[in-house]
Symmetry: none
């Protein structure tokens, strides 16, 4: 399996280097950004980022803002680094969907341990990596999908699309958003191509096809209940 990408955002280069070193030692691939804007750019360019480490105090766009922006686009796990351990800050963080909250100064070992823990929990690391949604089971590493324990064949794009749907279940997804995430962000094709893929996917999924709901005038939504 290829290395997992981690995006480290901090304005202090010393801090970035420290974190980078420890994570690299643990065989992660680290991408750095020195401010919020750069972070968002790098994130768009690296859609397969597995986790983001975010400093709260930064110029231009602070950590909370970056967090909010990221959450509009993605469920990627977020670890916040903060100087002061204010309880209200921490609560705000959890509301925004922060996954972990580490106050400076921290032990790099702990940081790495928490990163490991989050990624393990997010099933990004090894562990068969099986996603379930209703009667659909997906083995991501084996690129295998089953419905009611019956294996089905999906093409590459169909598979990607289904995974994206399931990773964002319960969320209404516009065609634009789907294009940006499942296709490359610089894809300029017709958004209606999604319709065709959805049709095929629904067909191949059989009974589970109805999990993909059409939201008229808006896009699609996956719901397994």
């Amino acid at each position: 399996m290829s290395k997992l990408k981690i995006l480290v955002v901090d304005d202090e280069s010393r801090m970035r280097k420290l974190v980078n070193d420890f994570l690299t030692k643990k065989d992660y691939l680290v991408i750095e950004a020195s401010d919020g804007e750069e972070a968002m750019e790098k994130f768009y360019m690296n859609r397969d980022v597995a986790l983001v480490i975010l400093d709260v105090m930064m110029p231009k766009m602070n950590g909370w803002q970056v967090c909010r922006e990221l959450r509009k686009e993605s469920k990627v796990p977020i670890v916040m680094l903060t100087a002061k351990a204010e309880e209200s800050d921490e609560l705000l963080g959890f509301e925004l969907g922060v996954d972990e909250y580490i106050s400076k100064p921290f032990s790099p070992k702990i940081l790495v341990a928490r990163v490991d823990s989050i990624l393990r929990r997010a099933n990004k690391i090894e562990s068969g990596e099986i996603m379930e949604a209703g009667m659909i089971k997906i083995n991501k590493s084996a690129h295998q999908v089953s419905v009611e324990n019956q294996n089905i064949d999906l093409s590459y794009k169909e598979f990607e699309l289904l995974v994206y749907f399931i990773e964002n279940k319960g969320i209404a997804l516009s065609r634009e958003k789907i294009l940006n995430n499942v296709w490359n962000y610089d894809y300029f094709g017709d958004a209606r191509t999604i319709d065709t893929h959805v049709k095929k996917l629904r067909n191949k999924l059989g009974n589970a096809g109805s999990y993909i709901k059409t939201i008229w005038g808006m896009g699609y939504k996956f719901e397994s209940e």
Copy 2:
């Protein structure tokens, strides 16, 4: 959706009660156990436990042992409570597959926030902010509306209109204003169109339909009381 079960394991009944109270307030169903053996028993009896909160220091079987036992059986998220904040302990915890590590004394609010966060991540909790107005609940990201906990289907325009009303509740809105905000600003149609949409909305909202008040000679106003 039914309540999520949380198993709280601690030998101090005072602590159990404290945690229990806060979690119950947040609408979780709490099961208590006062030592490791009882914890395992209760866990076997309640296979649908969504999360375990575990004190480290306990007689008979300490927290680490319980953790190990649980991990043999299940991937249920585990939160460890510990008196001392020893780094080595924490590292051991992560190795054992502990999801979160909170050192005493802790703020109950933080505990609840972390529990929420873990369950949200585990996809047990529907994510996304929810707007409420009287008996109406709106999950904007899911593009879903419920009245008295019963989901209802709204068309795109109806949804937009309702959101606009609720975002401006208590404020009298002229037709012109509504057109400019819910329709495109360059829409030159009949303002009477709104009447029709309001009618449909009131209809679909059922009992909550009366929240949309007519202000004669002026427009409409949303009020949920």
